[in-house]
């Protein structure tokens, strides 16, 4: 288990310092030296190789190896190659990208420019969710400073490399964080994810080869170029020797901690710290001296850990071993003993019902009916058989059962699966107590009228 106290923050090194968002402060701290060195001394393939050998895996949720993703780009393509920087962060519980963009936008931009250099991309779009006005201002100001300094535009730092960066603003839709949904949205269409293959690296934005990477991922690229692949691999969790397909979980990670803890916040720690370490050593423990009941390990899509499972390590392989979907965005949301799992699951179902893009019927209908059933259960008209129906929905929507185009439905399903399978007794007790007459009913019952917030 990594020693939490041993690592100086790297990604958050400047966060909290006065004027940390300005180029002056960033450069005083050594900013843009990595870019100077790369453009002056390294060929793009050297940077690609460096990132590949670092073992960096995408920080946006899926954890795909970044260097490998870049190698899927066609060789000797006449161009243009596009780079989409995914700043649509919308996973409930997640705010690390916002912190980076607001408080250290130049770190993000240096990582972006290096990543574009490595992938020979000549135009980059930063797709940012609408709800981040301060991040928008700070990133735009940083882009302007970069053009003024010769870090962007024609012949970056006098080299043959040219790059334009544009900010593109979303309009409040969670699905735009899915990489092909993002591409469709950027093209001016509804953000319906595409069937893959072709993968964006082959045919992406405007039918051209495209890389889509997360904000924190490119920030890591900056530090890998600065400090080397060995430094990156010295942090985190090596591959599981018993699993030849495990590429390991290397590097520092930003953990978002929220919910019922004393000190919620964004904390940097090596990949692989446990949920308990995060709560106790960074978060100051559970609020008000209460006990934990459950925790989301990596954004609401990842499902639930029980209070007995808080030793789950937060690396790419950890949460999966506890029945969760994965590490996701490493956003930990803590619930204390006062929280009703019925309330939790209704909230989760409400989110996914609202954010399903409607393209795939299993997801559109499944999330909608799951919410209707949860509202009926919560209103005291639940039946025990509803729990099996909810599980039937959860087990049949998503990429994993192969019924949907994108992973949103898997994210909708996991909280249902985990909540009902790990807290079934609580659900049954609630249904029996609130609907003693009808809890054994199995004949069809009408849905409740949806009079709530819509």
């Amino acid at each position: 288990m990594p020693d939490v106290g041993a690592t100086e923050p790297v990604l958050l090194a400047l966060v909290g310092r006065p004027d940390s968002h300005t180029r002056a402060v960033y450069e005083q701290a050594g900013g843009y030296q990595a870019l100077r060195r790369a453009v002056g001394e390294l060929a793009p393939e050297n940077v690609r190789e460096l990132v590949k050998s670092s073992g960096l895996r995408g920080r946006g949720g899926a954890g795909f190896p970044t260097g490998l993703k870049w190698t899927f780009l066609p060789q000797d393509h006449p161009g243009p190659i596009y780079f989409c920087l995914n700043a649509d962060e919308s996973e409930p519980g997640t705010f690390n990208n916002r912190i980076l963009m607001e408080d250290d936008p130049h770190q993000v931009l240096e990582g972006l420019i290096l990543s574009c250099y490595a992938t020979r991309a000549t135009t980059a779009y930063i797709y940012m969710r609408y709800e981040y006005p301060l991040a928008w201002q700070r990133m735009q100001a940083a882009v302007d400073e970069c053009y003024a300094a010769g870090y962007l535009g024609r012949n970056v730092l006098g080299s043959q490399f040219s790059l334009d960066v544009y900010l593109h603003r979303g309009a409040a839709a969670y699905i735009c964080g899915e990489e092909t949904g993002l591409i469709e949205s950027l093209e001016g269409k509804r953000a319906w994810p595409r069937i893959k293959p072709p993968f964006p690296a082959v045919e992406g934005l405007f039918h051209k080869p495209t890389v889509v990477n997360n904000i924190e991922t490119v920030a890591c690229v900056k530090h890998i170029v600065d400090r080397g692949a060995d430094w990156f691999r010295s942090i985190g969790v090596p591959p599981d020797p018993n699993n030849p397909r495990d590429p390991g979980s290397f590097g520092p990670k930003l953990y978002c901690l929220s919910g019922h803890v004393e000190r919620p916040g964004c904390y940097e720690a090596p990949l692989g710290i446990t949920v308990r370490q995060l709560i106790d050593q960074f978060g100051g423990g559970i609020r008000g001296g209460r006990r934990a009941k459950a925790a989301i390990p990596g954004g609401i899509s990842m499902g639930l850990l029980t209070a007995d499972e808080l030793d789950c390590p937060l690396d790419f392989a950890g949460p999966g071993r506890y029945g969760c979907l994965g590490l996701g965005t490493a956003a930990v949301v803590v619930m204390d003993e006062t929280v009703s799992m019925i309330d939790f699951l209704e909230n989760s179902c409400q989110f996914f019902e609202h954010e399903s893009c409607g393209q795939c019927t299993p997801c559109r209908e499944g999330t909608s009916w799951a919410l209707k059933m949860m509202r009926r259960i919560k209103a005291g008209r639940g039946r025990l058989i509803d729990l099996d129906l909810l599980l039937e929905i959860a087990d049949s929507i998503g990429i994993m059962p192969g019924t949907t185009i994108c992973g949103l439905a898997d994210g909708a399903a996991w909280p249902i699966k985990n909540a009902i399978r790990k807290f079934r007794g609580e659900f049954e007790e609630y249904i029996r107590r609130t609907n003693p007459q009808g809890c054994h009913e199995t004949a069809p019952v009408p849905a409740l009228d949806l009079v709530a917030l819509h």
Binding site: F95, E131, H168, A171, A173, G259, I300, E355, L453, H454
Partner: protein, 170 residues
């Protein structure tokens, strides 16, 4: 609404995009290899100026982008963001209802604010001061419960702070 002019004689719809708005939208053209990619930037320009995107604006945006109005309308309606029937209030506020905020009273806050303002989520007060909506995760979970009002993020919201906000609306 100064931007919505009188219907001219003959029944042709009055133009709603100002020259300045058209100029700003055209400024996005060099950024993208297709005109369609300017759809969201254009809708944001219109929405910022008119506080909604009426159908006539959709028609005019489509003309600028060399698209069918239905293409612009299709994209617009995918996002629950752009109102079409009437302008939103001078302040548009989103109260977060997702999990981290819900655990710390976000739902109660939205209910409280709706009651105080006398409206339902999605509605605008009769005096046009405020449109109040729910939001899915605003990405400020460390400061839950939170609200985004215009460009201002209100952190660690309480009913007291919410009342102050409502009382101070311009």
């Amino acid at each position: 609404m100064s931007s919505v002019r009188e219907q001219p004689a003959g029944g042709a719809a009055a133009r709603v995009l100002s020259e300045a708005m058209i100029e700003e939208i055209r400024g996005y053209f060099p950024r993208y290899p297709t005109r369609q990619a300017v759809t969201l930037p254009a809708l944001h320009v219109v929405n910022r100026e008119l506080r909604h995107v009426p159908l006539q604006a959709v028609v005019e945006v489509a003309e600028l982008l060399e698209l069918a109005p239905a293409q612009v309308q299709d994209t617009l309606t995918f996002y629950g963001f752009f109102k079409q029937d009437a302008p939103h209030g001078r302040t548009r506020a989103w109260v977060c209802r997702s999990i981290s905020c819900a655990l710390l009273g976000g739902d109660d806050l939205l209910r409280h604010m709706c009651r105080r303002a006398g409206i339902q989520p999605g509605q605008t007060t009769p005096d046009g001061k405020l449109t109040l909506e729910f939001a899915e995760c605003l990405g400020a979970c460390e400061a839950a419960p939170c609200m985004l009002a215009g460009d201002t993020l209100h952190k660690n919201l309480t009913t007291h702070k919410a009342d102050q906000f409502l009382d101070g609306l311009p």
